[in-house]
């Protein structure tokens, strides 16, 4: 199933194509893939993350569906 995945701030280094950048790429993932599975297989650093699926906060246990957009941020903040 096709899922768009975008990584932000210093996480964008972990995009599999090695090209960095914040734009989403489309990936063909197995049915039933969870957010946590993507995090594990891409080797994201072990620290708190902020996860959005389709522009809403989602837990890492959330299951992804065809056409979803997944966006992950490292711990960031500002004012």
């Amino acid at each position: 199933m096709n899922v768009d995945i975008a990584l932000f701030a210093y996480l964008s280094d972990h995009q599999p194509d090695g090209k960095g950048g914040r734009h989403a790429r489309t990936f063909d993932l197995p049915e039933g893939t969870k957010v946590a599975d993507v995090i594990a297989s891409w080797g994201l650093p072990d620290q708190p993350r902020i996860v959005f699926v389709n522009n809403r906060h989602a837990p890492e246990t959330a299951e992804l569906h065809k056409g979803d957009r997944l966006a992950i941020f490292p711990p960031i903040a500002g004012g």
Binding site: F8, A9, R22, A71, F73, I76
Partner: protein
């Protein structure tokens, strides 16, 4: 031991008095509020001699407490009509702290409206007023240079300056403070404090702390131990230790966009397709390519170091690296995706002394009127400059978003208590809507920064799209923030403090060890509640009612894409935010 420096601009006299015992536990915002409450009739005209302008460093200013050098500026606001505290970084806070000046209190008004004065405070504590009429209309960067030419070459001093916007009495004017390199690029931006400074004929304040040591503590060992724990919390928490130093505040642009809460084109959507050009990541990449600095603190003693400089294609300094609020206001809210345009607009505001949040909103509202097009960078620059050109229709722009919206018949004017909203959409982030509506400061994000739990997962999580928990979240953050503002801390210490309990303990340990007074959680929260109580009572006296603690009606009726939600926190929940005020006022002896 701390003193008040009274500067009377009617008689041009300066007097030092001991800080009254009743204000012994106050600094920063608590002290500016207490003094304005005490001295200014709430119905006063903010540009008359009845208003006062107060500059107060925090309770820990002048010490080595990390991130404790912020400076509070207080007065009755010409923009909101309420009790304003405008908070800034820069070097002035610690300088005044080392001088043991609890506050500079500027009163009165010179008889001659053409007169301009500079107040100079030397390291030996002496203070004088000099007439500087030739500096009338001088912009902030030239002013900083003019002051430098007067100071000894080996001096150590900070500047607090008023640009042409303040001199013209514009409601969107702010006051510039010097950073560690002496650039006048830190700001007490919100609420028209520049206009108050201008009404008193005060063009500049220079504070020299050359040769002055850090202050002594009641218990030096206890202070140093607590300071180390606090510093460790700041540098090891991923937000204050990694995220902020790497990207600065503008790292927020992409996450608010992802959440659908990034106000775009005058709050007409929560998502900006062209966000990449004004994002924090892009800002960092371009700055590095051009050889600019991407990490420094805005004041001595900052260990977070979230500031940076923006440079042009040749690597020359243009302005302070635009903060998220500025990149949003002049970028996303105006439909502009070019950071060089944003930086140019920021530099203009820095020169003239204008609040970038208010001015970005003002340009966006002006665009919404059809006068110029969304996304037209050159037109935005021309409009901003037109404020200061004779005969231009743009002069009204300097009075802010509401004034422009009303004059040009714009339907959606994003203000509360006449002050324009910062970079978070209440319809998609309900918690910040509570803060915007209820804060005595008007629409203000730092006053009760619910983005922590609503978006960032700091200090817990509260779903931004639902109403549950938002009023309590805002209320508790407003109290805690007022407390941090009174101590002189940069509010970014809140990120580690919300997640690391010992960081909060370290705050009152430092405060107790420095002052010799008993401080604990209850005392800190009391400080926060008392600060807010001054503001609520003053505003009540100025004529504010519950009707002023509301968002614009259209935010309750017009759904915001992409989530297509409206603001739904009830009026009853908004009003309950202030349920602690009567009891606090009673305990303070004010009611």
């Amino acid at each position: 031991m701390r003193e008040l420096l009274f500067v009377d601009m009617s008689t041009l006299s300066i007097e030092r008095k001991p800080l009254p015992e009743k204000w012994h536990r106050y600094g920063g915002r608590a002290l500016t509020d207490a003094i304005v409450y005490d001295m200014v009739p709430p119905t006063a005209d903010p540009l008359s001699q009845e208003n006062v302008l107060v500059f107060a460093p925090g309770l820990l200013a002048g010490t080595t407490a990390p991130n404790a050098g912020r400076l509070s500026v207080g007065a009755k606001s010409p923009l909101t009509g309420g009790l304003k505290e405008s908070n800034s970084g820069g070097q002035g806070g610690h300088a005044l702290g080392k001088l043991k000046i609890a506050a500079i209190v500027v009163t009165g008004k010179p008889a001659d409206p053409a007169a301009r004065y500079m107040l100079t405070i030397e390291a030996d504590g002496s203070a004088k007023l000099d007439r500087v009429d030739a500096w009338a209309g001088m912009k902030n960067y030239a002013l900083a240079d003019a002051i430098k030419a007067l100071r000894p070459t080996d001096d150590r001093y900070s500047t607090i300056t008023n640009g042409p916007a303040g001199e013209a009495g514009l409601k969107a004017s702010g006051i510039a403070m010097s950073d560690m390199k002496g650039y006048p690029n830190r700001f007490a931006g919100r609420g028209g404090m520049g206009a108050v400074m201008g009404s008193k004929g005060l063009k500049a304040i220079v504070v020299s702390d050359k040769g002055l040591p850090y202050l002594e503590h009641a218990d030096k060992e206890a202070f140093n131990a607590a300071m180390k724990r606090f510093s460790t919390a700041l540098t090891t928490h991923p937000v204050s230790g990694t995220g902020l130093p790497t990207y600065g505040t503008n790292v927020l642009m992409n996450i608010l966009n992802e959440a659908g809460g990034l106000p775009t084109r005058n709050f007409s959507s929560g998502h900006f397709d062209d966000v990449e050009g004004v994002s924090g990541e892009k800002q960092r990449e371009v700055t590095l390519e051009r050889g600019g600095n991407v990490k420094h603190g805005c004041h001595t003693g900052c260990v977070i170091q979230c500031s940076r400089y923006w440079v042009d294609k040749d690597g020359a300094y243009v302005t302070k690296g635009p903060e998220y609020e500025t990149a949003w206001a002049f970028g996303t809210d105006c439909g502009i995706s070019d950071m060089d345009v944003v930086a140019g607009l920021d530099r203009i505001c820095g020169e003239y002394g204008l609040d970038t949040i208010e001015m970005g909103n003002t340009i966006a509202v002006y665009m919404d009127s059809g006068a110029i097009a969304f996304g037209d960078g050159p037109a935005a620059i021309k409009a901003l400059k037109s404020i200061f050109e004779d005969g231009a229709p743009g002069k009204i722009l300097g009075d802010g978003a509401e004034a422009v919206g009303m004059k040009f018949g714009v339907e959606h004017i994003p203000v509360v208590k006449h002050q324009a909203m910062p970079a978070y959409e209440p319809r998609a982030v309900q918690g910040i809507g509570v803060t915007y509506a209820t804060s005595p400061q008007g629409a203000d994000h730092t006053a009760g920064y619910t983005i922590t739990a609503n978006i960032l997962g700091v200090g817990g999580t509260v779903d931004p799209l639902k109403t549950e928990g938002q009023a309590d979240l805002s209320k508790n953050l407003q109290i805690a923030t007022a407390m941090l503002d009174a101590l002189g801390f940069c509010i970014f210490v809140a990120f580690p403090v919300l997640d690391i309990p010992d960081a909060f303990v370290a705050i009152f340990d430092m405060t107790a060890a420095h002052t010799g007074d008993a401080w604990d959680t209850d005392e800190l929260m009391r400080l926060g509640r008392e600060t807010l109580t001054f503001e609520r009572l003053f505003n009540e006296g100025a004529g504010f009612t519950a009707a002023d603690d509301r968002l614009p009606v259209w935010m309750k009726t017009v759904p915001l894409p992409p989530h297509n939600t409206v603001f739904e926190v009830t009026d009853a929940d908004l009003d309950a935010v202030w349920d602690f005020v009567p009891e606090t006022a009673n305990a303070m002896g004010l009611r």
